[in-house]
């Protein structure tokens, strides 16, 4: 079983790198249209959001299928979320603002969608730092778990960030918001059922 998990992990790792590989390839072969930098910035942001959502899918999958092994992939997927979010952030800082600290600061304080995106990224940092076994032990399971509930806030903020930057056609961000409500709603439902059964 362990052997299967290890090779499956390798596979998931490679799959998780595919979006980035495609973007680099498309960039080099001029397939991203007239505004390639905007396209890469947008796409890495969307991929960060998708990876966050996939980590949130692990628990429901375990509960629905009874296959606990799904959890073995969560850390890696979470780290990929941080990875894509970092590339997204770096592109904004470098390609949009040329690392101009003053301009960036103005953006963060003046523009709510940048503020929200920025907060969302900053909140991912402690989750990334505490993702190792060592940190998990050091914090203790309960505290670690509590800290990592932050991901619920992060996913909502990320969706709001997406929603706010779209000029007029909100369909796509609304789809992500809907999936987020389903993912979080599932947890509320389980919680509610658990409370009921203990009440009995």
């Amino acid at each position: 079983m362990q052997k299967h998990i290890t090779s499956l992990k390798r596979l998931v790792f490679i799959i998780s790198l595919l979006p980035l590989s495609w973007l680099i390839y498309a960039l080099l072969t001029d397939q991203l249209g007239a505004n390639p930098i905007e396209a890469v910035t947008r796409d890495t942001g969307v991929w960060a959001l998708r990876f966050i959502m996939v980590t949130l899918l692990i628990s429901p999958l375990r509960k629905l299928t009874g296959i606990n092994q799904f959890i073995r992939f969560r850390r890696m997927l979470g780290l990929f979320a941080f990875f894509y979010a970092s590339v997204h952030m770096l592109l904004y800082l470098g390609m949009d603002q040329f690392f101009d600290v003053h301009e960036i600061w103005l953006d963060i304080v003046k523009r709510p969608f940048i503020t929200i995106g920025f907060i969302s990224f900053v909140l991912l940092i402690p989750l990334t730092i505490t993702s190792t076994d060592k940190m998990m032990k050091r914090l203790g399971g309960r505290r670690w778990k509590k800290l990592h509930y932050l991901i619920y806030l992060i996913v909502v903020l990320s969706c709001v960030h997406f929603y706010m930057l779209v000029k007029q056609d909100k369909t796509e961000p609304l789809i992500y918001l809907l999936i987020t409500f389903l993912l979080l709603g599932f947890r509320l439902f389980i919680q509610h059922r658990r409370n009921q059964s203990t009440a009995l």
């Binding site: 249209g33 007239a34 505004n35 949009d96 040329f98 103005l106 000029k167 007029q168 056609d169």
Partner: protein
């Protein structure tokens, strides 16, 4: 089809042209979808050239009329005008338009003293324009100019680019080009030009008056509520460049707005 004997214009910029490929593949034309790629994918054969394209000129004027597009352009001297185009989203292009001053058409109609503004309307035809099947904006698209802006020699009715007939995705067969304003003011595929007394309610002001004003002059000092307008990415260039007041056409148009608080009338 190509245009011949185009007059060059003193208003043309000598900046490096954006490629034909970029100008015709990266478009905001919500009538064909809200992403940048849909218009070029869906508007290649727009409009159906077998049908006449009629343009109504009416409202507060002495000589209202209906013009057949093909007849109309025969009566005009076509020029090449190389203009910068700055999109409200923060990107820009340099486009060699083919067209003639809007003022030519307006003068023919002889606007009366009540004509304070000009309202423009895009075709409404969900059969040909699939984006109109969804209510992203309140169709048909409407834009407007103050009378002096409309009569300004920079204001162009464009019927082509790069010496060729206007591609569907760029607003065929005839569109407005107002180079000192954000791109959305330059309404595409026009079927009606109307003189009115009151400031017309434009499609974007109606959609979000807090973010899009009637004037929408390019202004690096007035930010969009959600993003900065200080810089722009010139399509084809790597780094962003500074955005210029009135998109660099201040010498020609600044006097139209003397005494106006441009932060309030954005």
């Amino acid at each position: 089809e190509a245009y011949a004997d185009l007059q060059p214009s003193d208003f043309s910029t000598e900046e490096k042209l954006t490629t034909y490929e970029s100008i015709t593949s990266y478009n905001n034309f919500y009538e064909f979808g809200t992403d940048k790629e849909s218009p070029s994918a869906l508007a290649a054969d727009f409009p159906d050239r077998s049908k006449p394209w009629m343009i109504t000129v009416d409202g507060e004027c002495d000589k209202p009329g209906q013009y057949d597009y093909n007849e109309l352009i025969k009566t005009q001297t076509l020029e090449e005008r190389i203009y910068r185009l700055r999109c409200v989203e923060g990107w820009s292009m340099v486009i060699p338009w083919v067209g003639f001053p809007l003022a030519e058409v307006l003068k023919q109609a002889q606007p009366n003293s009540k004509a304070k503004f000009v309202e423009f309307t895009t075709l409404y035809d969900p059969e040909q324009m699939p984006g109109q099947r969804r209510r992203v904006l309140d169709w048909p698209y409407r834009e407007g100019l103050r009378m002096d802006e409309a009569m300004h020699p920079l204001t162009l009715l464009a019927v082509g680019l790069y010496g060729r007939e206007m591609p569907g995705q760029n607003g065929a067969p005839i569109r407005l080009v107002v180079p000192w304003k954000y791109g959305f003011k330059s309404i595409k595929s026009i079927v009606r030009i109307r003189f009115v007394e009151e400031m017309p309610l434009t499609a974007w002001v109606q959609a979000n008056a807090g973010e899009y004003g009637f004037y929408s002059n390019v202004n690096p000092d007035v930010n969009h509520p959600r993003w900065s307008q200080r810089r722009e990415r010139r399509i084809g260039e790597f780094l962003k460049r500074e955005t210029l007041m009135f998109n660099g056409y201040g010498d020609e148009v600044a006097e139209l707005y003397s005494g106006m608080d441009l932060k309030r009338y954005f």
